[in-house]
């Protein structure tokens, strides 16, 4: 066995889209089971085969790369580029549709902090439970228990039920458990942004320590500064394929260029066109399209989507980045008010961002469309847009940015 830790060859993952794929009722399946043979026969008679399968999206297409032992690799890409799907496959949460991956070493995945935390249980109990869920042995957790609690700075509250914790305390404890995993290989998905600034620094320090201890880490983040600090190598994903590999520096530069290239309309579209982002508009308060945004004024972003199928759930994600690719903040329409049941046709969502206190001269955003795709997790590749703004160049503190925003859906007639 060589010093290879991870080898992926031709990994691909296909998700099916459409209402009927999320948990369906027995009645639907029964009627379908009865009607399918008839439809098949009819299709065979008419000579078209296979085109009536459910519409699909390839979240990953043909991803191949090697990671050597001890390498810390940053995975970079826009929303919906396939980063999370890749980590999910490597973590064995979901199966690939094609291709293979071989991993040498004990794997620890950190796709979320606090998985399995139960509000009724105390901090102490949750440490043990969460540790076991992350694959730690009981003896290992017991040995590290004091260290974990000290790291989280929760000595006084460790026997309090977690439901009485503030969200900061909760996240601190959750991160502390995860940070003490001893696996040779770690998959980390954007979980560092927890707690206050001081704790974030501490988390970064811990990750840095982990990275320097000869462990292999795959690290998904939108924060280019963090990636450049922690990682040695990088992989850039776009629309489900690897578009660049190499040193982290070259990958970050490649990614910045990728963000600048502005794709045209229809940039984001499912394989068969069943769902698509048709247009993205940036408007000022009067509804005029703008390229230059005036500092201090509200920002309105409208996204037109087209559905050819009814969808139970539909969500648009917008993530804003600085000119050098650091994530500023993100909006997710489904966490800003829920609505279900979308008819086929054009749907426009309007984000009104009230007080965007950006203090950077240049920024980008990308837009992702999620539908009631199986798992509600696959996303369309999305469009990157550039905004230039006239802003005072002071205080580069990204933590100050907490804009208030609203998102409203509207439908324009019945489409395809």
């Amino acid at each position: 066995m060589s010093d290879l830790a991870i080898r992926c060859e031709g990994l691909a993952k296909q998700y099916r889209i459409g209402n009927h794929e999320t948990y369906r009722s027995l009645r639907e399946t029964l009627t379908e089971a009865l009607s399918t043979p008839i439809r098949r026969v009819r299709a065979a008679l008419q000579g078209d085969r296979g085109s009536h399968g459910p519409p699909t999206i390839w979240a990953l297409k043909d991803v191949s790369f090697d990671v050597k032992r001890g390498e810390v690799v940053g995975i970079i890409g826009r929303n919906g580029a396939g980063k999370s799907t890749l980590l999910k496959i490597l973590s064995r949460i979901t199966w690939p549709t094609r291709g293979s991956a071989d991993i040498h070493g004990r794997v620890g995945s950190l796709l979320e902090v606090g998985t399995g935390f139960h509000p009724e249980l105390t901090g102490r109990e949750n440490v043990y439970l969460n540790g076991a869920i992350l694959g730690m042995k009981k003896a290992e957790i017991a040995r590290k228990f004091d260290e974990i609690v000290a790291f989280a700075e929760l000595e006084k509250f460790i026997d309090t039920p977690v439901k009485r914790y503030s969200s900061g305390m909760y996240m601190r404890l959750a991160f502390a458990v995860a940070a003490h995993m001893e696996n040779e290989i770690l998959f980390v998905d954007e979980v560092l942004a927890v707690g206050d600034t001081a704790f974030q620094k501490k988390c970064l320090g811990k990750m840095d320590e982990v990275a320097k201890h000869g462990r292999t880490v795959l690290f998904v983040s939108h924060n280019m500064l963090v990636l450049q600090k922690l990682c040695t190598a990088g992989i850039v994903l776009d629309a489900g394929t690897v578009v660049s590999t190499g040193t982290i520096g070259s990958c970050v530069r490649f990614y910045s260029q990728l963000l600048e290239s502005r794709p045209g309309a229809d940039a984001a579209c499912a394989d068969d066109g069943s769902i698509a982002i048709k247009a993205v508009r940036v408007l000022d308060a009067e509804g005029r399209p703008i390229d230059n945004w005036q500092y201090g004024s509200p920002l309105i972003v409208e996204v037109d989507t087209l559905l050819h199928l009814p969808c139970q759930r539909l969500a648009v994600d917008i993530t804003f980045y600085t000119g050098d690719g650091q994530r500023l903040f993100g909006l997710q329409s489904d966490s800003m008010g829920t609505r279900t049941g979308y008819e086929p046709g054009f749907h426009t969502i309007r984000f009104e961002i009230e007080n965007p206190g950006f203090t950077v001269a240049e920024m980008y955003f990308d837009v992702g469309l999620r539908t009631s795709v199986v798992g509600y997790d696959a996303m369309l590749p999305c469009a990157g847009y550039l905004i230039l703004q006239h802003a005072p160049m002071h205080a580069h503190n990204l933590n100050l940015i907490t804009p208030s925003a609203s998102a409203v859906w509207s439908q324009l007639g019945q489409g395809g």
Binding site: Y23, I89, S91, R92, V107, K137
Partner: protein, 295 residues
């Protein structure tokens, strides 16, 4: 009860942590099609997680209920009282010469163990959606934990039975030594059905609503309120197709020893359970690769 596993249970000594010279485990990720092997050895490696999940279920349930462990006693006792009144007193259902309350309670114990375990395991996969979409572990751990969590309630309710039997002056015979086998059979029956239902539940949420109905019907198809001696002798092996018939009659036989041993009927029950269980295991494994995508 329900203390922290870290303190209470020491499953293994703190031996050999992260030996650098051991060959590293190799994980091969391939597209999965069709039937996949059960891989029970991996399940064994995750036994600590199993213990933790059982402990969590029990602990949370007792923390969230006012009466806590009392529920484990109240349910079978009240059922026993109602059964004794309506079936024993009013309907004069025969009870094979055993005082009706003991007769009913003996059957209600394994029945409630089964019904609880079935319900928990059937809903377990959907209830643990977060875990399934975020972390890898053998998915079989989840329905198994759901089934085993019912044993604690069973143990508590069992204490009542001891007092009840003492009160009626019934002393168990040597057959009581076979009781653990019937407990095992009840657990396996619940697991066998629970595996099918929990995997189906991910795909079809209708299942959730069927479970209550199913257990209700099943209760009347099992010799809980009445003895299986009411069923004509030649039909009894057929009656054994309902595995809970074998379990319930086995319980009475093991505990009291007065009723005839449930021979052929039990044999049929065991075979049915084994077939359901093996089928359920493979079906669950086959379906689990879609859990994270569909749930």
């Amino acid at each position: 009860m329900a203390t922290l596993p870290g303190e209470a249970l020491r499953l293994e000594p703190q031996a050999a942590v992260a030996e650098p010279f051991l060959p590293l485990p190799h994980v091969a990720i391939r597209p999965a099609r069709g039937w996949i092997p059960l891989n029970l050895s991996e399940l064994w490696q995750y036994r600590e997680l199993l213990v933790f999940l059982i402990w969590r279920d029990i602990k949370v349930r007792y923390k969230q209920t006012v009466l806590g462990a009392a529920w484990a006693v109240l349910q079978p006792v009240f059922s026993m009282v109602v059964f004794s009144l309506f079936f024993g007193r009013l309907a004069k259902v025969p009870s094979d010469g055993i005082p009706y309350p003991v007769f009913a309670y003996c059957a209600l114990l394994p029945w409630q163990l089964f019904a609880y375990a079935l319900n928990e395991s059937s809903n377990s996969v959907v209830a643990n959606e977060r875990l399934i979409t975020r972390v890898y572990f053998p998915r079989l751990v989840i329905p198994i934990a759901g089934v085993l969590a019912g044993l604690v309630d069973f143990a508590i309710a069992f204490v009542v039975l001891i007092f009840l039997m003492l009160g009626y002056g019934i002393i168990p015979t040597a057959t009581v030594a076979t009781l653990p086998l019937f407990v095992l059979l009840a657990i396996l029956t619940a697991l066998a059905v629970g595996l099918w239902l929990s995997a189906l539940n991910v795909q079809y949420r209708d299942v959730r609503y069927t479970i209550g109905f199913l257990t209700q019907i099943w209760l009347f198809l099992s010799p809980v309120a009445y003895p299986s001696s009411l069923v004509p002798a030649r039909w009894r092996p057929l009656y054994g197709l309902n595995p809970m018939a074998g379990v319930v009659e086995g319980f009475r036989w093991a505990l009291i020893g007065k009723t005839p041993a449930p021979g052929a009927m039990l044999g049929v029950s065991v075979i049915v359970v084994l077939l359901l269980l093996v089928g359920g295991l493979y079906y669950f494994r086959r379906m689990e690769k879609t859990f994270a995508d569909v749930i």
